[in-house]
């Protein structure tokens, strides 16, 4: 549903400042759709812990049969780069410190959703962004990159996939095509 509610004569707009007070923290959600080759960013949920985040993500973003895999990442684990920032330099060959694994997500053009591009090893978040740029982007494409330590990703247990994703399969009434609407009344 939608529409905007108009102002009453003389009513002042409520000016909304910045706020980040959450009782439940924010988790970014990624879904691999049925038949899809990669995880796609699906906005966020709030949850007190990872387990609840997965359940909330399932209930919010997978109410119809469309997902086969689900990831949640705590908001704070993600480092973000976009076109307005200078691209960090890769720390290549600078030292021998241990290099953890990172997952990279790319928005290829404005309006598009972030897609999981792949994994890389890097010394830190800046290095991961630089390496993701080199590994997954051509010169012209990609307007934003997110990276997160692979260890920060919480994935739905494949053994629980049936419990998580299948209950919706036999609820055909959630689909528009379930309802027989005569053609002469127009598209609905």
């Amino acid at each position: 549903m939608s529409y905007s509610v108009p102002k009453i004569a003389g009513e002042q707009d409520t000016i909304v400042g910045r706020s980040e007070d959450h009782l439940w923290s924010r988790w970014e959600v990624f879904v691999r759709p049925r038949g899809g080759v990669t995880h796609v960013y699906s906005e966020s949920v709030h949850a007190p812990d990872a387990e609840t985040a997965l359940l909330n993500a399932r209930d919010t973003y997978l109410r119809r049969v469309e997902g086969v895999s689900l990831w949640v990442i705590p908001e704070g684990a993600i480092s973000r780069w976009d076109e307005h920032q200078e691209l960090p330099r890769s720390a290549a060959g600078q030292d021998a410190s241990p290099r953890p694994l990172w997952e990279a997500f790319i928005r290829h053009r404005r309006g598009a959703q972030f897609l999981h591009a792949g994994s890389i090893v890097a010394v830190d978040a800046r290095d991961a962004i630089a390496r993701a740029r080199d590994a997954f982007l051509t010169k012209t494409d990609g307007v934003a990159i997110w990276v997160a330590p692979s260890a920060s990703i919480v994935a739905a247990d494949p053994a629980e996939a049936e419990m998580l994703f299948e209950p919706f399969a036999d609820k055909g009434y959630r689909q528009a095509t379930y309802y027989d609407i005569p053609e002469e009344v127009g598209y609905m």
């Binding site: 549903m1 509610v5 812990d49 109410r63 934003a144 127009g186």
Partner: protein, 309 residues
């Protein structure tokens, strides 16, 4: 490039503005206001329909209605999530609603008196919402546009289940037909009001259209809705309660009567049939749920402490 220049370039090129981009504070405020109202409407919109879950005529209808009300909750969450990309927390938006500093659509301040109202809401209220939301998929703010795409995919189910309820009643007994007609009589005008004041009266519209937040005007959307809905009412054999409604071959559109703007403003100002009940119920549910939200946090803290011990 100067970030302000870049913003105008993005708007001019019909590209999407994304969360990291510089944007005028007015653009941000307009979006927060609109997305929050939209989110609040989805959430408050669960009440009139939830009212009939326990009294749905069959188990099948009950399952459908539960799925639909669950969708409305989901739509609210998509929208709060989109609003949060503008640097405002969901908790803050809920607070602003409860304090009466943000609003929700007036349509939910009308009661659902009979089962036919559930049909009329799906057909007309969701129909009007879809008309608006399909247009909004083209809005200039990326996260809002993507939330609209997601919602539109699901709304088609909502409208079709509603129209199917109306079809069954319209083909039913005399009493059932009368019930369907009564629901149409009560929901027709409030549905037209969902599109807001005339373009000439709408204070927010101009700047919103320049920023391409709102791609189609109130009056144009309302006309689209009337044109699509009249044949649907005719098919049902029901009469739209507007003596001035007629096809205008010259314009290629239906002409229709004037909305009762006094009623419109009365409800916006809080004096509709259900304004007080809706807010009281919303606040009560929020307060009754506080212990659950807090207990979940306490549980998470305790468990993570046990793990690291």
């Amino acid at each position: 490039m100067d970030p302000e220049e870049r913003f105008h370039e993005i708007i001019a090129a019909d590209e999407k503005v994304e969360p990291g981009d510089w944007m005028p504070e007015g653009y941000r405020q307009t979006l927060i206001r609109q997305i929050a109202q939209h989110a609040h409407s989805e959430v408050i919109g669960m009440q009139p329909e939830g009212n009939w879950i326990t009294r749905a005529p069959t188990l099948k209808r009950k399952a459908i209605l539960m799925a639909k009300v669950q969708d409305e909750a989901g739509h609210g969450l998509y929208l709060y999530s989109a609003a949060e990309t503008l640097g405002v927390s969901r908790d803050e938006l809920v607070r602003l609603l409860h304090e009466g500093r943000q609003k929700y659509s007036s349509i939910f301040n009308y009661p659902t008196l009979t089962w036919a109202d559930i049909g009329a809401i799906g057909w007309l209220v969701d129909g009007a919402a879809i008309t608006n939301q399909v247009a909004l998929t083209r809005t200039s703010y990326g996260p809002y546009s993507r939330a609209m795409v997601r919602i539109c995919k699901e709304e088609s189910f909502h409208q079709r289940q509603g129209y199917e309820i109306m079809m069954v009643l319209a083909r039913g007994s005399e009493e059932q037909r009368a019930m369907a007609q009564d629901a149409l009589d009560r929901f027709w005008w409030p549905s037209l009001m969902m599109f807001g004041p005339h373009d000439s009266e709408s204070t927010h519209s101009d700047q919103s259209m320049r920023w391409k937040i709102k791609p189609v005007s109130n009056d144009d959307l309302r006309q689209q809705f009337v044109d699509a809905t009249v044949p649907q009412a005719e098919y049902l054999g029901l009469t739209i309660p507007d003596p001035d409604l007629r096809w205008n071959a010259e314009r290629g559109h239906y002409d229709f009567g004037e909305i009762d703007w006094d009623e419109f403003w009365r409800v916006v100002k809080g004096h509709g049939p259900m304004n007080r009940e809706r807010m009281a119920h919303k606040i009560e549910a929020w307060e009754n749920g506080a212990w659950v939200r807090e207990a979940a946090v306490a549980h998470a803290v305790k468990r993570s402490a046990a793990r690291s011990a």
